[in-house]
Amino acid sequence: MKDVKMQFTVKEKKGGSILRSSRHLLLYLVLLIYLFPFYLVVINAFKDRRSIILNPLGIGGAVKLTNFVEAFTKMNYWQGFWNSLVITALSVLIIAFFSSMTAYYFLRYKGKLNKILFFMMVASMLIPFQSIMIPLVRIYGSTLKLLDNKWILIYMYLGFGSSLSVFVYHGFMKSISVELEEAALVDGCTQIQTFFKIVFPLLRPTTITLVVLNVLWIWNDFLLPSLVLISKANRTLPLSTFYFHGTYTSDYGLLMAGLLLTILPVIAFFILMQKHVISGMMQGAIK
């Protein structure tokens, strides 16, 4: 995103440097406040309960690395991490795959049914999840007996995620010209080939935006997995963090170590993909 870096270069007339340095000071001060809770998590993850109660702000004193080992085993970290990874990665890929095809179809083949479906998808973005969750649990739980299953959760993420993704793809595809596709069709490509060889690569920026939005949503989601995944072995990371916290409410050092372990993967994702995440979040909202 080149234009994001663009600034208002016009110089202000009065009070230049004092104004500017106070602006700097203010911004960095606010940033410190924003990051302060994370600082607290990091320093207290290395302390034992007593020294946290004595002084939760201080650094130094006995370092207790066992917090991490204990948190790791007690919250079943690997299991949670693995479940979250599988569910997030597969859901995000499936959403991108099917939504792009659907959006393409809705745009290129104009029919009444397609218009109705597209309208329903857009309108459904207004429905709060809470208005669906009770019948959802009833249908997939007591009627179909499909709950407590990773795959059904992925299936649901496709259902809930497709509307936004179809909408965003649809908006972006309008700017792609049809001529290239027509040429490919004339040259004997099937529709599927045309889509995957010509159209899908052109959608890359949109795909990245949607991947970022969907990864952050699904990785951090709590309510839907808490309703769908029942057994301990299926828990995602937010679920195991929450239940872990319920069990060890007053062992603060252990809890902070657990929270830090839960935060790390997302921070790693952010650091690796920082440019895409920032521009993705901006783009996603504008479209």
Binding site: V30, P56, L57, I127, V166, M281
Partner: protein, 294 residues
């Protein structure tokens, strides 16, 4: 546009391209939604397989339920405070961060960090901050404001929730405002400065009118998210103390899954849908009216 010949060929293309998404979307969103409307008209308790159609009785129960209204007005208070604060702070940060500050990208990324992390973890972090750290600071420095945990105080617990939500969302909304601000043509500012417009005038006459499209988006997102807040609510206060922070989502959840009054819970959930849809649509409609042509 591409045209198809036979009906079968048409159907085949539809099934290949749009079939899976349509099927999953209908079965996960639309059918449960419609079934939910029906459920709200029955006396289903979650266990019995037999239930009766009882018309609008659940809705009457909901409207007479004092606890529901308490939760509803609490939610309105929370939504209003959160939406206003998030947008004001996000706009100010975005404004300051588009005027050539050193370490701009670092600052932007820093403010955005809370957004990366799920509501549950954020709620648990702040639970520690409010119940341990701030109390420690309050007692050490003799600040009566913090010497008792906000989370144990029915008057302050809601504000704790507002603070966490503002902290969570302002960085994201800031990014959207930055995207809007950098799209304002520089010439407008140059012209305004030459004409002698003060900074305040520039904000009021140029920036705010041209930022309406960004506000349409940020208001929509913050309204929707704060109406539906559940994770932070659960992890930070769990509705307590004494139901003083039980927001509407949590109320619906408890009604249905803990009290097993599914019909009533669903009636509340449907009412929530009507309110959220009405408010967000009205917001988009009215804020769009403010948009100016360039």
């Amino acid at each position: 546009m591409i045209t198809e010949k036979g009906f079968c060929a048409k159907l085949k293309t539809f099934l290949i391209f749009a079939g899976p998404t349509t099927f999953v979307f209908l079965s996960v969103v639309i059918i449960p939604f419609l079934f939910g409307i029906y459920l709200s008209l029955t006396n289903w308790d979650g266990i019995a397989s037999a239930y009766r159609f009882i018309g609008l009785q659940n809705y009457l129960t909901v409207f007479r339920d004092q606890l529901f209204w308490k939760s509803f007005f609490l939610t309105l208070k929370y939504v209003f405070s959160t939406v206003v604060l998030v947008n004001v702070i996000a706009f100010v940060l975005a404004y300051l961060l588009t005027r050539g500050v050193k370490g701009e990208n670092f600052l932007r990324a820093g403010f955005f960090v809370p957004n990366l992390i799920g509501g549950i973890v954020l709620g648990l972090i702040w639970h520690f901050v409010f119940s341990r750290v701030l109390v420690f600071i309050g007692k050490s420095l003799n600040l009566s404001l913090f010497s008792y945990s906000w989370l144990a105080n029915p008057q302050k617990a809601l504000w704790a929730l507002v603070i966490v939500s503002v902290w969570q969302y302002s960085g994201y909304m800031m990014l959207i405002h930055i995207a809007g601000l950098v799209n304002i043509p520089k010439e407008l500012f140059e012209a305004a400065i030459i004409d002698g417009a003060s900074a305040g005038q520039r904000i009021r006459r140029i920036i705010l009118p041209l930022m309406v499209p960004s506000f349409v988006v940020t208001l929509f997102l913050t309204l929707q998210r704060s109406f539906m807040v559940y994770d932070v609510n659960l992890a930070l206060t769990d509705g307590g103390p004494f139901r003083s922070t039980e927001l509407i989502s949590m109320h619906v959840y408890k009604k249905a899954f803990l009290a097993q009054e599914y019909g009533i819970g669903q009636a509340q959930a449907f009412f929530l849908f009507i309110i959220v849809a009405a408010i967000t649509l009205a917001q988009v409609y009215f804020t769009k009216k403010w948009e100016v042509e360039m």
